[in-house]
Symmetry: C2
Subunit: 225 residues, 2 copies
């Protein structure tokens, strides 16, 4: 196959699903899912495999970095810390920040990409909707790209692609719909319930994105939204 191989970090959420839809336009896909002991891992893993099935992706890697749960420091992995309800604060770093998380995700993606010969890594990081996550900024990914050049074999060429980093949720929803991304298979909620709660900051952000885009969110919620 002449198409370049690209590793896509697929959490199972909306942003990474749309990122995969973008990547597949001109890449053969390999899907990487990272389990870091977050509350909603089972839901996210199911979404990961559903999206991979939909796109016929056979190269899949699931990496467990549950040591992040041992390290703690985030309400996403530490039961002692409460998940904030309502919109993300625009001030400071939210409690859902997992210390340096994207460095772990990218390091795994780089190691895998180097071994399977992928030339690109796609990550669905979003700066504007992730206010306060220091490892979601373009400058973080730029520095990581330099690190990849420094820390891999001389012949290795791997670029870090963040195709949705400058988009708002509304634009991601619109783009995903245009690309026929399987948004109905995604999971965004921070709580581990049967249905998405519709109340946590992640649900509210997602719902606002669909509303602003004028598109109905295809997933069911536990409460009227």
């Amino acid at each position: 196959m002449d198409t370049e191989l690209g590793v896509v970090l697929v959490s199972g959420g909306l942003d990474s699903c749309v990122t995969a839809a973008i990547a597949r336009q001109d890449h053969e896909l390999a899907f990487l899912h990272v389990n870091y002991g977050q509350r909603t891992e089972a839901k996210e893993l199911r979404a990961f495999h559903s999206i991979a099935d939909r796109y016929g992706v056979t190269q899949r890697l699931t990496a467990n970095i549950s040591y992040l749960k041992m390290i703690g420091g985030s309400s996403l992995v530490d039961p002692a810390l409460a998940v904030e309800t309502g919109p993300s604060s625009s001030q400071g770093v939210p409690s859902t920040y997992v210390p340096f998380r994207n460095a772990h995700l990218l390091a795994i993606a780089v190691s895998w990409a180097e071994v399977i010969g992928a030339g690109s890594i796609f990550i669905g990081a979003v700066e504007q909707d992730s206010a306060g996550y220091p490892d979601c900024r373009p400058s973080f990914f730029d520095t990581f790209s330099r690190l990849v050049r420094e820390g891999t074999k001389p012949e290795t060429r791997i670029t870090i692609e963040t195709p949705v980093i400058n988009l708002r949720k509304k634009e991601i929803v619109t783009l995903g719909t245009t690309l026929h991304a399987p948004l109905h298979l995604t999971w965004s909620c921070y709580r581990d319930s049967e249905l998405a709660c519709g109340r946590c900051s992640s649900c509210l952000l997602r719902l606002k994105g669909f509303r602003d885009a004028g598109i109905a969110d295809p997933i069911p919620y536990a409460v009227p939204v």
Copy 2:
């Protein structure tokens, strides 16, 4: 305690043991060990705890990143690839290179350091004796330091310390002996045998270091050395 807390990456080998001896001169210590599915993990973990016991280190974290074994690509973790016998080649990247390994080790150290409030991370990387490992060069660690500034909370200050990076093995042995580092507790061999093999590139490098330093290696070997 007024002494700053420092996270030391302790593999159980010679270089990290001497690095710990350096760090403890002016830091309270927290020890981090990373298991990445390498052949000799049991030996290394035993060495890690022995060194931690010797130094009275109570904050210990063992992180499992065995996904590196799934990823493969290195003779250290992939049984299908042979470990080279004899001195490391000065040309190219050796088969024992684990793709981008030090990025994983440092990412874990940074997450832990941010949560426990450590201001320094010590890693026993050695450039000259690790010819061909791209992630052992000072430029890699400099770039990683920039990444830490970009990817952690604004108030977080963590420096990456590589106190033995410019030393030769002979100098590391001499320094460790001067600092009374427990070198007899370390494990360097790439093979998983009862005693160190004395034949792999890591054993040969270690033995030459002791010989050049004029100091007897305190560990037993399977063959006369």
